[in-house]
């Protein structure tokens, strides 16, 4: 829990990550529903684009700085910034202040934004005190810990706690759940063979649990893993954790044909 008391109806700016916005809008609606159920007022600023992580991780520090400034301006008036991605939110929380080492004014603004930026599920549990959700999912899931959320933001128990309250859902933990799946942003296209091997290691561990559904908190990892599963003809379904928690995992899973 945070030290400062939470306002009765905090104003939350929902960060629609690039991938979510384009590839999986239902994660955005699931996020909004979970936040509103927890008592938040949710807005989606139209001036938002990308957090700048692709540039930051590929060497383009100037480009990352420019996009960081834009995001700070779009979101700094909210009580909180929340996004359904550990990796984007880790960029905002951990990397933004360092981008402005030599710019005192911007650094202050970056630090202020970082302090109120959260990955969705850790925000719901750690800040809003949510302990359970009202949802049903009939299946056995295994949960992949995406690296940035896990190691930079400490997202580990929160999704499991909330998933534990979903009716009809069984959690089976896989071996090496904390090992990278091989997505790694541009890594997956720059070194596709290594990425494929890492995906197969992950999916073998997932398969050994017997779970029919694979969940995770970062769409990049999920697109990569679902893409590999579909290529191999596996029937395992892949959803973002938020979709299941919000009861919105009733449509086709990632890469699945319209039912």
């Amino acid at each position: 829990m945070t030290d400062t008391p939470v306002k009765p109806r905090p104003r939350v700016g929902l960060f629609a990550t690039c991938l979510m916005n384009a590839m999986r809008p239902s994660i955005g609606f699931a996020s909004a529903k979970l936040l509103e159920d927890a008592g938040c007022h949710v807005s989606v600023p139209a001036a938002q684009t990308c957090c700048g992580q692709p540039g930051l991780n590929s060497g383009d520090e100037d480009g990352a700085r420019a996009l960081a400034k834009q995001l700070i301006e779009a979101f700094e008036d909210f009580d909180y910034v929340v996004g359904p991605s550990g990796s984007c939110m880790a960029t905002i929380r951990h990397d933004y202040p360092g981008l402005f080492a030599d710019m005192a004014d911007w650094r202050k603004r970056a630090e202020a934004l970082a302090a109120k930026s959260y990955e969705l599920l850790s925000f719901l549990t750690d800040v809003m005190g949510v302990t359970e959700v009202d949802a049903e999912y009939h299946g056995t899931i295994t949960y992949h810990d995406s690296c940035s959320g896990l190691r930079s933001l400490g997202v580990k128990g929160q999704p499991r706690q909330l998933l534990g309250s979903v009716k009809g859902l069984t959690i089976k933990e896989m071996e090496d759940t904390d090992v990278c799946c091989g997505f790694g942003g541009t890594f997956c296209v720059k070194y596709p063979e290594i990425s494929e091997k890492m995906a197969d290691d992950k999916l073998r561990n997932a398969a050994e649990t017997g779970a029919d559904t694979l969940l995770g908190g970062d769409l990049g990892c999920l697109l990569h893993l679902a893409g590999r599963l579909r290529r191999k003809g596996s029937p395992v379904r892949v959803y973002h954790t938020a979709e299941v928690l919000a009861g919105l995992a009733d449509g086709p899973s990632l890469g699945e044909e319209n039912r």
Binding site: A22, P25, D60, V179, G255
Partner: protein, 469 residues
């Protein structure tokens, strides 16, 4: 040592298809990862010790000149000699000089990654010396004529069957497959070498400034025989390996073995302080320490200074899923894995090392286990920034980043482009939910499908439903 980092990509793909290597790599998890976790778990003060170790190293690095002088004075007082080598060539010249003066013919070696960095074996052999590696792993790869693939387990890429073949060929004895028998055979062959070598070369895990001692940590005792039985003992180490006191050493000894192999302590921790003194029953007549700089002093005071805290435990590579997929040889030089991907570009230069810091998912597992808390992912990313500034990033990628920035800095254009993009992808998928190939595919669909978008972006759906709030 040959520099093959420029071939990273092809060697990595080759490694993925090497069945023996994959079998050997799959055995390492239980050997390293599980045991390290158990060792860390069993020691309540382990995390605090990591902090203390990092602090000691930071203090030394901020006062390195002082501690090197102190160390040198202590070594000299004990009757030994300290030599400073600015680079690998300088180090080879110094060591060849010592061996020549000693009238050596046979040289035994304990494990030393710094000597690999010096390219020492090749130089000694070229000058006519017989060089015998005495660490079992190093001995195996010397027989195979290969470089180490791991900094503490140099032959980790070899299976037991491959070792059996190598021994049978080299020792001219019946092929054995039992582990204990193989070890016994190597021990028997090496025993004679220890007694007849004129010079013994070892590494130095730690150099203690207050006593002038070099400390080696081994599991086989081969280092002890190497350094006590030869007439001349040469220690090879990096200038950053000095620590102030024996008390400080106790901190490192408690985290090194636990981080490396998950042992509470290695079998042998051996101190060498100068040559044999009057009344000593054994020990060398001469004691030399060759301290290698090779780019380290340039890291001091730079954004890469943290890298000099490294105590060479290997935990970062043991926990790296990329290293675990391709092994150490793909990295193409002395130091593989995360620590090597930082060190190689800094020591060997930016040319030919482009892939090393890029072939990393920044998953942070290395940083989470580093006993001296080196922020390896941050350093790897820092090298990528340097590559970008030096215009080494591939043109296509740089153009893509520029385009991405241009569009993302213009929210209206960005959202318009995303709306068009998702409509095209959705119509290409035609209700199948996935795409098997893509026009202008950057490398996605070789091994995976692309789960197709539904055809509308979240922002446009949200705005249609909820307005601009």
């Amino acid at each position: 040592m040959e520099f093959r980092s420029p071939e990273f990509k092809t060697r990595a793909v080759h490694a993925l298809h090497d069945a023996n290597l994959q079998k050997a790599l799959s055995n390492t998890k239980a050997g390293f990862v599980v045991k390290r976790a158990q060792a860390a778990e069993a020691m309540p003060e382990f995390e605090a010790l990591r902090d203390t170790a990092a602090e000691i190293k930071n203090h030394v690095l901020n006062n390195l000149d002082h501690y090197l002088e102190k160390y040198e004075a202590a070594v000299t007082a004990a009757g030994g000699h300290v030599h400073y080598a600015t680079d690998a060539e300088d180090a080879r010249r110094i060591i060849l000089g010592i061996c020549k003066k000693a009238g050596a013919r046979r040289i035994t070696k304990g494990k030393s990654m710094v000597s690999e960095e010096m390219g020492l074996n090749e130089a000694l052999i070229a000058d006519g010396y017989e060089v015998v590696e005495t660490d079992l792993g190093e001995y195996i790869i010397q027989l195979a004529d290969e470089p180490p693939s791991h900094i503490i387990a140099p032959a980790i890429h070899k299976t037991k069957d491959q070792v059996a073949d190598l021994f049978a060929a080299a020792h001219h004895k019946p092929r054995k497959t039992d582990r204990a028998e193989l070890v016994a055979e190597a021990r028997e062959v090496l025993r004679e070498k220890y007694f007849t070598a004129e010079v013994g070369i070892t590494g130095g895990n730690f150099l203690v400034a207050e006593t002038g001692s070099s400390v080696i940590v081994t599991n086989e005792g081969n280092g002890d025989l190497t350094q006590t039985l030869a007439k001349v003992h040469i220690v090879t180490s990096g200038i950053e390996r000095v620590i102030p006191t024996l008390d400080d050493l106790s901190v490192f000894l408690r985290i090194l073995a636990r981080s490396a192999t998950g042992q509470e302590t290695e079998s042998y921790t051996t101190f060498s302080t100068g040559p044999r003194r009057e009344g000593d029953v054994d020990g060398p007549e001469e004691y030399h320490v060759v301290l290698l700089d090779n780019g380290r002093s340039k890291m001091l005071g730079s954004r890469f200074q943290d890298m000099l805290r490294c105590i060479r435990c290997g935990a970062c590579m043991n926990h790296c899923p990329v290293y675990g997929s391709i092994g150490g040889h793909a990295y193409g030089w002395v130091y593989p894995g995360p620590m090597g991907s930082v060190l190689t570009p800094l020591i060997k230069g930016m040319d030919g090392t482009y892939d090393l810091p890029n072939a990393c998912t920044l998953n942070g597992r290395c940083k989470s286990v580093c006993p001296v808390r080196i922020p390896l992912p941050d350093l790897l990313r820092e090298i990528r920034h340097n590559q970008f500034r030096k215009d080494m990033t591939p043109k296509r990628q740089k153009q893509a980043l520029k385009l991405w920035r241009y569009v993302a800095e213009r929210p209206k254009l960005y959202h318009f482009a995303e709306r068009i993009g998702v409509r095209i992808l959705a119509s290409m998928a035609g209700g199948k939910g996935k795409l098997r190939s893509l026009p202008f595919d950057p490398g996605w669909t070789g091994a995976r499908d692309l789960p197709a978008p539904t055809g509308r972006t979240f922002l446009e759906l949200w705005q249609a439903k909820r307005g601009d709030q």
